[in-house]
């Protein structure tokens, strides 16, 4: 059933008892044309675009837990495309353009809000780096502007621009089209869209092995719900990518780290935008529920524990308290961790692997949410055609051998 004014009115009169399930929960079939491993935003978006744009409907998404329960449900929902290199700009801007029409596309309100993302500069190095980004972005036709501390305060009135704080704000880069979206709704909207086009979404189904035929190509997946045959597998498993790829004997240039976020008690709207500070390791926005959503950094060591160290969160809150002194006495409601897969150049890996029929979309590290629609779109093309989408091509696994890295570490030295 579509979401429309007429249907909402009808359901309201009928006591909202007639809404159907938003996606089916079928039993796995014996075989599929392709299987996506991981029902997070990226995996579900991949399945959606495979069905919609490439006519592949005999496909499945398998998920070891529940849909959108990994990093999709744990991130701080920031969307922006102000990256330095052309390859990154292409993929993140592709995603941002899809974000702008996503609610209409999915007939599902993903609550994309272009409220502006402001990145604070605190020293001469920051100023140089951000101005370089601003110029690079504008050459690529991506909005990004340099603003003074006073303009930053006008844009975000609760910001402390005093010259006497430990790390005073000396300017900021502002991308007005950046913003936030409702993370769960993104997963749910893509799940509903994919399921409606015939994609089987199979939750509570953990992959335990990747079966290969004598030629070495993918023959199917061993799962906790039995063997499922398929010739194409797309791994979209974030922090667990190394584990899954290990089942096919492929080593990855990835390390998995816990990344934390926390939210405060809900309050009336005080913050109209997203503010990030890479230098003092903090970023914050306010959700539509009123909670302040705060992102911290990764732990120093690799881990699959989905729990970050207290000193990491404390470090971030120190910075938050200095930048936004009027939130100092607020209570934090929840604090959690997700496992992010980080590549050496802080750019994702999207494409083919040494195993025929096995594709991978990973390495989004600390900032994958913003790319969800674009990532799914180009990965769907890659899996469906067997060749990388032109936007995905530079993000090959092979770049770690050829040396053509896409070094976004300058922009992403901390969580973003």
């Amino acid at each position: 059933m579509r979401f429309s004014f007429l249907n909402v009115a009808r359901q309201a009169l009928a006591g909202n008892q007639g809404w159907p399930e938003q996606w089916r929960s079928p039993e796995p079939k014996a075989a599929y044309d392709a299987i996506i491993v991981g029902a997070g935003g990226h995996g579900l978006a991949t399945a959606y675009y495979m069905a919609k744009e490439h006519g592949l409907t005999n496909i499945a998404v398998v998920e070891k837990g529940w849909l959108g329960g990994g990093n999709t449900g744990r991130n701080t929902t920031i969307i922006r495309s102000n990256y330095l290199w052309e390859e990154s700009q292409a993929i993140y801007e592709h995603a941002l353009k899809l974000w702008e029409g996503l609610s209409e596309e999915l007939n599902y309100n993903v609550m994309y809000s272009a409220r502006g993302v402001m990145m604070l500069a605190h020293n001469a190095h920051d100023v140089q780096v951000f101005k370089r980004h601003v110029h690079a972005n504008r050459l690529a036709g991506i909005d990004n502007e340099w603003i003074s501390p006073e303009e930053a305060k006008a844009f975000c009135p609760i910001l402390n621009i005093s010259r006497t704080i430990r790390y005073p704000i000396v300017g900021a880069a502002l991308q007005r089209r950046g913003g936030t979206a409702r993370h769960d709704a993104v997963a749910w909207g893509y799940a509903r869209g994919a399921s409606g086009r015939g994609v089987d979404i199979i939750q509570n189904c953990e992959v335990t092995g990747i079966r290969r035929d004598p030629s070495g190509a993918v023959a199917g997946l061993e799962t906790t719900r039995g063997f499922v045959a398929t010739k194409k597998v797309g791994i979209v498993a974030a922090g667990h990518t190394s584990v899954l790829m290990g089942m096919a004997g492929v080593r990855m240039p990835l390390e998995s780290y816990p990344l934390q976020a926390l939210v405060s008690e809900p309050i009336k709207p005080i913050m109209p935008c997203v503010v990030m500070s890479n230098t003092i390791h903090a970023y914050m926005s306010q959700s539509d529920k009123g909670e302040l959503v705060i992102g911290a950094g990764t732990d120093a060591y690799t881990s699959y524990s989905q729990t970050g160290g207290l000193h990491i969160a404390t470090h971030t809150l120190d910075a938050i308290c200095e930048l936004f002194p009027n939130v100092r006495r607020m209570r934090m409601l929840r604090n959690w961790g997700g496992i992010v897969d980080v590549t050496p150049d802080r750019s994702p890996i999207i494409g083919k692997t040494p195993v025929p029929g096995l594709f991978v979309n990973c390495g989004w590290g600390t900032g994958g949410f913003k790319a969800t629609p674009g990532s799914g779109h180009v990965f769907a093309h890659t899996v469906a055609k067997g060749e990388p989408h032109p936007i995905a091509a530079p993000f090959s696994l092979d770049r770690f051998r050829t040396g053509r890295l896409i070094d976004e570490a300058a922009a992403a030295a901390v969580a973003h």
């Binding site: 190394s242 240039p253 390390e255 524990s305 000193h311 770690f400 050829t402």
Partner: protein, 100 residues
């Protein structure tokens, strides 16, 4: 925060005294002149990233300043044992005495 036993100082200290230094036992190619792209790429970028026991390097920066190795379970973050640089990786099934 981890409590890490430094095998040189022979005492357990909080994690903030240490700096993580990546996976242990990653050997630099012995003959750099002839090592190909694949070998270099493996050495520089590809890591085991295990879900389970990892051998990793730590440096006691705010203590003795020395590098040492550590076996840690990446699911529970429990440290099984630490050992001095240059020593072989111990068997995780039989961890030696910790908590010095």
């Amino acid at each position: 925060m981890l409590l890490i036993p430094c095998p040189y100082c022979e005492t357990s200290r909080p994690e903030i005294e240490f700096r993580h230094a990546g996976e242990a036992h990653v050997a630099r190619p012995l003959d750099p002149e002839t090592a190909g792209d694949k070998t270099w790429s493996e050495y520089l970028y590809f890591r085991a990233n295990p879900k389970g026991v990892i051998a990793e390097r730590w440096r006691h920066v705010s203590g003795c300043g020395r590098f040492f190795n550590c076996l840690r379970d990446t699911i529970s973050d429990k440290i099984l044992t630490t050992y001095r640089a240059g020593e072989p990786r111990p068997d995780p099934q039989a961890p030696k005495e910790t908590g010095r």
